[in-house]
Amino acid sequence: MGFSFHRPDTIDAAISFAGVHGEDARFIAGGTDLIIQINRRRLAPRHLISLAGLGLDRISETSGEYVIGAMATHDAVVTYPGFQHELIALAEASAVIGGRQVRNIATVGGNIVNASPAADLVPVLLTLDAVVELRGPAGARSLPLDRFLVERGRTVRRPDEILTSVRFAKPPTASATAFLKAGRRKAMEISVICVAAHLVRGGKARIAVGAAASRTVRVRDAEALVERQGAGAFHEAGRLAAAEVTPIDDVRASARYRDLLVAALVERALASCAERIGKANP
């Protein structure tokens, strides 16, 4: 074991350092995933490149969109004023990631790049049609989060690309989001199933499910049904969603139970969105 720790001052310095060391180097954000991978000997990077000093930790808004810097912590998401109403699902998801110590240091960028199928913030971001911003030696590029994620632990990011931010359009007022998570205990829990929903009154429906397939997925049949039929179809949407995912049996839960949870939580998340829209727009 043993690695050297680097603290570049600029994004370009971080990128060029990563370029020099290739697979031997890893970016480190909060380290809450990476250090565990190293301790469990799944990864053995020779160089850790800190992203802490690059000014990537801000959450900001323009007239049309929100931008979450990759280094923003889950705590920052929980308390951000813009995420308390229509976008409350972001705060709901970040609020149940790990425990206090984890939320204080773990970042949004780490949650995305890590590409765990159980990452709690990822389904919420998928329902917001979020776009990720990457910077590499050849400059910046952006692409939809849905295309960024490939499968468990894999994204289309090149080793020397930094995820700088994730952005999404401000939702209309007559809209709502909701996030639900099931696990064996009420904190410090990797999701057995997590579900996010985003409904726009009379408009689009987005539903995403985590820990039910080899990556976090949108359940498009269920979305289409809700867009066509509205609130009357929430129960059926849950059933459809369960049919669209491919959960596995593991030590945390059986596939059968995960199917049951997907159906239940999708229905509840949709119902919660509808109720929130109703409350906020009487």
Partner: protein, 765 residues
């Protein structure tokens, strides 16, 4: 009980070890380090049952920084064990579980030691293995220990093949009892492996001195047992082994037996350097002393009006590859099955079975939660079937003062009825199935039990110092429970000083008097009694010293408020101590205590190491919870414990014990399980081994009942273990009341409940 008002005992005083611990200054064994210390690491088997064909340590030895590599061939082949000497430090030619130690390394850093362990080459030849304890009992099952009959063992146990011990308790005429029964019920319950979950991993530092003595700093619960055990495996006289416990971050029974101490001692001996070992979470979850899984079958005959007539039961306890305390635990389970209920005809059998899984041990109230889960679940099943309220059913059957216990011993200080009534009143028993919030079912459950205060002797040295302080040297470690503070409160009471004047030392087997150890709910009880004895002796010494000088009768001399008093005469305790030092060597005393064994009927018990319980306690738990009707998620709304503590030496720390025990019980009930797939643990990490968090814990409402015991200090009874006994049954009963789903296997996960609610699972969940 004395009639006077007590000043120190019974008060909610802050613990004497508190400040060092909450400020992080206290040195625990895991913090301990010596100059030049090496780091040890253990190579563990990757097979569940196999012959070791080849062990090659050459590549490991060649690594820079590696000082010693030890395997079975490098040390004497000494078998050790609690009930049966069935274990060796390293597997001798054959591994019996995945995780068993094969070799150990000492190196200049932990990283080098780990690399060295990976560099050791092992070739295995697989042997047939057995993982299911019921299969292990079948004729022709692979033997975990082919040479079992050659092992030395305590004579009390009845052993054969994979059976490491078999015990029985019985009374009356079972056949006749069943024949007279109005109805007979048969049920089967299963429980899982759970880890004690102490905060501090097991750790030890060993160092050899110029005299050929070995000093081991360890976080053991039983320093004297450890000393003897180390003498055995090191092939040394016990006087050459010194065990010091700097501090211990919890044990719960998981640190009773040797963990890493013997590896540290042998590696230090061979490398001639101090060596430290500390376990990882993975090691804790694969080779520690978790609670044994059990299969409990019960057959119960009752009268029409709900009286227990005949009960038959069998506990199969899976002790893993080595017996450790398994045979004793299977035996103690029988008392848990019996009590606290009168039953004219009963026959219970406990069988401890070897399998090719990790060893197990005595986690807090060993046998308690498993056997109680079975009995108290079945009581509810029977009561509901007979249409009798479960509380009422219990009240018709519980022990009364003067009843005979399972071994025919006479029961005194029986308080089970009061415990049940107080717990039921507090939870609002009259409404057993209140309305839940939308989508949730609510229900209440109750369960009761009894437990013992373990015997064994305690010794303390007590010295009154010329500065007015008092030094308490006990051979029992402060496990974190506050038990030594409790004993110190008793000592302060007896000596007429303040608690803050008492200093307790760490345990050092070269210095401290013998104590049977911090286990079995006995520490405050037994050390407290030893303190009373020491205080009496000190009073006698003081009387002898001052009676002549003051010209008063020795028995007129009293201790109060830091002074020695007789009539008008008064001298501060500090001055008396100084006077004694000038004239007679100082005020120092050795107080000892042992509980008398109750008289019992030997015809009722077979092969039982602990036929009758000493200073038993009674307790009832009641819970109200909500179950999500779809996901099965359980939320505990209220949790009440009514526990007879005899005398509450310090109510604050008793409540702490109750809250902690309930937390562990809730963990065992709802979320925790070491999951084996054959011989492999699937969740040997703290991500997937799920102890409850604060968010999973309800506030625990504690009702302390004080029905004095005959033998405890001021009537106290043991309090530490009982709180983790009833949560599984109380919660199972509440889940059943809420949902109609009766889960008979632990843990009662949301998944089991949900699949049953959805009609997608078999009967057993």
């Amino acid at each position: 009980m004395s009639s006077y008002e007590r000043r120190v005992a019974g008060k909610r005083l802050p613990r004497i070890d508190g400040i060092g611990k909450v400020t992080g200054k206290h040195v625990y064994a895991a913090d301990f380090a010596l100059p030049g210390m090496l780091f040890g690491k253990i190579l563990r088997s990757s097979e569940a049952h196999a012959r070791i064909r080849r062990l090659d340590v050459a590549r490991a030895l060649a690594l820079p920084g590696v000082r010693t590599v030890l395997g079975a061939g490098d040390i004497p082949q000494i078998r050790f064990g609690t009930a049966i000497k069935d274990r060796t430090m390293f597997a001798q030619g054959e591994v019996r579980f995945r995780g068993e130690a094969i070799a150990a390394v000492a190196a200049t850093s932990l990283e080098v030691a780990e690399a060295a362990v990976r560099a050791i080459e092992v070739e295995y030849e697989p042997l047939p293995a057995v993982f299911d304890p019921e299969e292990a009992l079948l004729p022709g099952a692979p033997l975990v220990h082919a040479g079992w009959s050659d092992y030395q063992a305590l004579p009390v146990f009845d052993r054969e093949g994979n059976i490491s011990g078999r015990s029985a308790i019985g009374d009356g005429d079972l056949e006749a009892g069943f024949a007279q029964s109005y109805r007979i019920y048969e049920h089967r319950f299963t429980t899982q492996h759970v880890h004690p979950g102490y905060t501090e991993p097991r750790a030890a530092v060993a160092s050899w001195d110029g005299n050929g003595d070995v000093i081991v700093w360890s976080n053991t619960q039983l320093p004297f047992d450890m000393k003897n055990m180390l003498a055995e495996v090191l092939d040394l006289p016990a006087s050459k082994v010194r065990v010091i416990v700097p501090g211990i971050g919890g044990g719960f029974g998981g640190k009773l037996r040797v963990g890493v101490e013997h590896y540290a001692a042998w590696l230090a001996r061979k490398s001639r350097r101090p060596v430290k070992l500390i376990t990882t979470s993975e090691e804790e979850l694969t080779d520690a002393y978790p609670r044994q899984p059990t299969i409990v079958t019960l057959k119960t005959g009752v009268t029409r009006d709900g009286r227990l007539l005949a009960r038959q039961g069998r506990v199969i306890l899976d002790c893993g590859a080595f017996a450790n305390s398994g045979p004793a635990t299977a035996a103690i389970a029988l008392q848990v099955l019996a009590g606290p209920y009168r039953t004219p005809h009963l026959a219970f059998e406990g069988i401890a079975v070897y399998t090719n899984k990790g060893a197990t041990g005595s986690f807090r109230a060993p046998a308690g939660p498993m056997a109680n889960f079975a009995v108290e679940s079945q009581i509810d099943l029977i009561a509901d079937d007979l249409g009798i309220d479960p509380l009422e059913f219990r009240l018709r059957n519980v022990y009364r003062e003067g009843d005979k216990g399972p071994a025919g011993e006479t029961l005194a200080s029986v308080s089970i009825e009061e415990c049940l009534r107080r717990a039921a009143d507090s939870i609002g028993w009259s409404e057993r199935k209140p309305l839940g919030k939308k989508g949730h079912s609510r229900g209440k459950g109750i369960a009761c039990s009894w437990w013992l205060t373990t015997g064994g002797s305690s010794g303390v040295y007590v010295r009154i110092n010329p500065d007015g302080t008092v030094t308490l040297v006990s051979g029992a470690v402060e496990l974190g429970s506050g038990a030594i503070t409790g004993a110190a409160q008793i000592l302060a009471e007896e000596l007429g000083v303040e608690l803050a004047q008492i200093n307790a030392t760490d345990v050092d087997t070269h210095v401290s008097p013998y104590d049977y150890g911090a286990q079995g709910s006995r520490t405050a009880f037994s050390v407290g009694n030893a303190c009373i004895a020491a205080a009496r002796d000190l009073k006698r010494q003081i009387g002898a010293l001052l009676a002549g000088q003051w010209n008063v009768p020795a028995d007129s001399i009293r201790l109060e408020a830091g002074s020695v008093v007789s009539g008008e005469k008064r001298m501060s305790l500090a001055d008396v101590a100084a006077l004694s030092q000038r004239s007679g060597g100082g005020l120092i005393s050795h107080g000892t205590a042992i509980q008398p064994m109750p008289v019992f009927d030997p015809n009722r018990v077979r092969h039982h190491p602990l036929p009758a319980w000493t200073s038993h306690s009674f307790h009832a738990h009641a819970v109200e919870l909500s179950v999500d009707q779809v996901t099965g998620e359980v939320s505990i709304d209220r949790y009440v414990v009514a526990q007879d503590v005899g005398y509450a030496i310090n109510p604050t720390y008793i409540e702490g014990q109750i809250e902690g025990g309930v937390a562990q019980g809730i963990g065992q009930t709802l979320s925790e399980e070491i999951v084996y797939d054959g011989g492999r643990v699937l969740n040997a990490n703290l991500t997937d081994y799920k102890m409850p968090t604060m968010m999973d814990m309800p506030r625990v409402e504690c009702i302390l009942i004080e029905k004095p015991s005959v033998n405890g200090p001021y009537g106290a009874k043991g309090v530490g273990e009982p709180p983790c006994i009833q949560p599984p049954a109380a919660i199972a009963n509440a889940v059943a009341a809420a949902t109609g789903v009766r889960v008979q296997s632990l843990p009662i996960t949301a998944e089991k409940i949900a699949l049953r609610l959805a009609g997608k699972a078999g009967k057993d969940g």
